[in-house]
């Protein structure tokens, strides 16, 4: 470049114009598509959107049957919900006079209105399910153990935030289901000791569900909760890296014999990562480059998730019940399905069903990694060493599922037992 030859001015300008697209392109993407290991490493180092990934990833991480991609599915559903949610906001008005009409408008006069609402509704249902299953996966593989205790705690909080987001979104259509589900849900909050009534009042902004509650739930649903969740998801992901990647069985994580690792390699930047899971300590055949292995897997999970949502939204319409009638609760008045287990418990005792037992279960989840401190059986599904913990967890998870099924299919008018067939 520096050795300039005698070039006429005109030709120089032309040359610059000729290389302009290439210049712009290379300013956007600093490196061509990788065809060498150096190039493959650079993808993670130089691309903002990929830089959360490691350069190399343990082969065990990529086993589809180990994670089933549930965490990624949850995240992609969150992204899909954010995008469809923002689009729906263009037409929604959080007012008791207008909200229901706007729902009808989505159906009747907005292009793709029904489709977007379907995507948002089914995405929300699937996200609750995916986050729950993700939690089951992490527990049953013992992945919440040291050093990942705090990330498990973050995950439990994210699960609760997912439920709360779903709950606040439920009120927005302002139909019968919305109104009575939130009336019941807010009353459950009112049973909390000491602060219950105060909390209910803060949540509703009034003594009963009305305009104030609609506005509050809207603000929580579209601003507060997504912002908090985005922040926590970022920390959740960051900690996966800092805690040494996804959990894996000891065999997969074991460094090669010390003699084989040159001393100099033991003190890389990776040394800041906790645990014996340094890439430097792994034999080469246990790790593969993230490009293309990990990125292709992630792309596949994304396309799969999106495809499921699109198909659901295509064939099933999100329900919309009668407009709110504050004087006539539907009979039976049912909460969304994931709260029907709670509602079933509540039909026995409001305090124990709505606050006591759920509170204890959440507390048990939160302290699980600090109580169950055995180091055995990490990274394997249903490890023998973790028989007790897994049995307890599966029992409680099944109990919840059974309660949800009873509440959904076996409860009729006046919450009396009915047979679905």
């Amino acid at each position: 470049m520096s050795e300039t030859t005698e070039v006429p001015k005109k030709a120089k300008t032309f040359d610059r114009l000729r290389v302009l697209p290439q210049e712009v392109w290379s300013s956007l993407f600093r490196h061509p598509l990788p065809d060498s290991d150096l190039g493959r490493s650079q993808t993670s180092f130089t691309n903002f959107f990929l830089h959360i990934h490691p350069v190399k990833v343990n082969v065990h991480t990529l086993k589809p049957l180990y994670t089933m991609g549930l965490g990624l599915i949850s995240f992609f559903l969150f992204v899909i919900l954010t995008v469809t949610g923002i689009l729906l906001m263009f037409y929604y008005v959080p007012s008791v006079q207008q909200a229901y009409d706007r729902m009808l408008d989505l159906r009747g006069s907005v292009a793709f209105g029904t489709f977007l609402r379907n995507m948002h509704r089914w995405g929300a249902h699937l996200m609750v399910a995916a986050v729950f299953l993700h939690m089951c996966r992490v527990f049953l593989t013992g992945s919440y153990k040291k050093p990942r205790e705090f990330n498990w705690v973050l995950g439990v909080v994210l699960f609760l935030l997912t439920l709360f987001s779903s709950f606040t979104g439920y009120l927005l259509p302002w139909d019968q289901l919305a109104f009575w589900a939130i009336t019941v849900g807010a009353s459950i909050a009112g049973y909390a000791p000491v602060v219950g009534k105060e909390m209910q009042f803060l949540l509703l902004g009034d003594t009963a569900v009305g305009q104030e509650a609609l506005l509050r739930f809207y603000v929580l649903h579209i601003a507060v909760l997504p912002a908090v969740m985005t922040l926590m998801i970022m920390v959740h992901f960051w900690r996966i890296r800092k805690d040494g990647g996804l959990s894996r069985p000891e065999e997969a994580a074991l460094p090669v014999a010390a003699a084989e690792v040159p001393k100099a390699r033991k003190f890389g930047l990776q040394g800041l990562v906790r645990g014996q899971v340094l890439n430097a300590g792994n034999s080469p055949e246990k790790t593969v480059y993230s490009w293309p292995n990990l990125f292709m897997a992630e792309l596949f999970v994304f396309v799969f998730t999106l495809a499921v949502i699109l198909v659901l939204a295509m064939f099933f319409d999100a329900p919309l019940e009668e407009p709110v009638n504050v004087t006539h609760p539907p009979n039976p008045a049912k909460a969304p399905w994931y709260f029907l287990g709670l509602q079933e418990l509540v039909s026995y005792s409001a305090f124990w069903g709505g606050v006591g037992i759920p509170g204890l279960m959440v507390a048990a989840l939160l302290i699980a990694p600090y109580v169950d401190r055995g180091r055995k059986g990490v990274g394997k599904w249903f490890a023998r060493e973790r028989l007790l913990a897994n049995t307890l967890f599966v029992s409680f998870a099944l109990l919840n599922v059974i309660l949800v099924i009873i509440g959904t299919f076996f409860r009729g008018p006046n919450w009396e037992f009915v047979s679905p067939w």
Binding site: T327, P329, S347, S349, A350, G353, W415
Partner: protein
């Protein structure tokens, strides 16, 4: 910071003590303001005035309700009962989870979780933890009955006309 030999250990200790006090005071100030601002957020989102229905309202003249009336005023969420010359305003908000109970032959029943109450609002079945509330009735100057939902009274206390 600059560790010249001229500093005596005692002076250094003084500086350390001063630094500790200042650190403590600054931390106290910062954390204190954080706590105060978090608290003021709660004060902010707790409404001072609500825009819902007034809790004191007129329901009509006593003669509008013949003896034996058991009329649910749905918008007000009360049931007006007249028995001879006695009036009562029984809440129709279920004490369980806030659904609206409907008057039935035996009393009241709730569609949400199956709570049942007798004529006086006492719990006869289901998960309801306490009886339906009774509200204070008084005679307004214009001869109409006035119900005040801010004042709960002992169930079974009728207002005599």
């Amino acid at each position: 910071m600059d560790n010249h030999g001229t500093h005596k250990p005692a002076e250094q200790e003084d500086a350390g003590g001063r630094r500790r006090v200042l650190t403590f005071l600054s931390a106290f100030g910062l954390i204190g303001s954080a706590v105060l601002s978090a608290f003021s957020n709660f004060v902010f989102i707790k409404p001072r005035a609500t825009y819902g229905q007034p809790s004191r309202f007129h329901v009509g003249k006593p003669d509008d309700f013949p003896s034996g009336t058991k009329l649910a005023l749905e918008d007000r969420r009360i049931c007006l009962v007249r028995d001879g010359n006695q009036f009562a305003a029984v809440s129709t908000t279920c004490t369980h989870l806030g659904c609206i109970v409907s008057p039935s032959d035996t009393g009241y029943s709730c569609p949400c979780h199956g709570s049942r109450y007798d004529q006086d609002g006492n719990v006869t079945g289901g998960p309801a933890p306490k009886p339906l509330a009774w509200y204070k009735i008084s005679m307004a100057p214009n001869g109409e009955l006035e119900v005040d939902k801010d004042q709960e009274i002992e169930p079974g206390t009728y207002f005599n006309v």
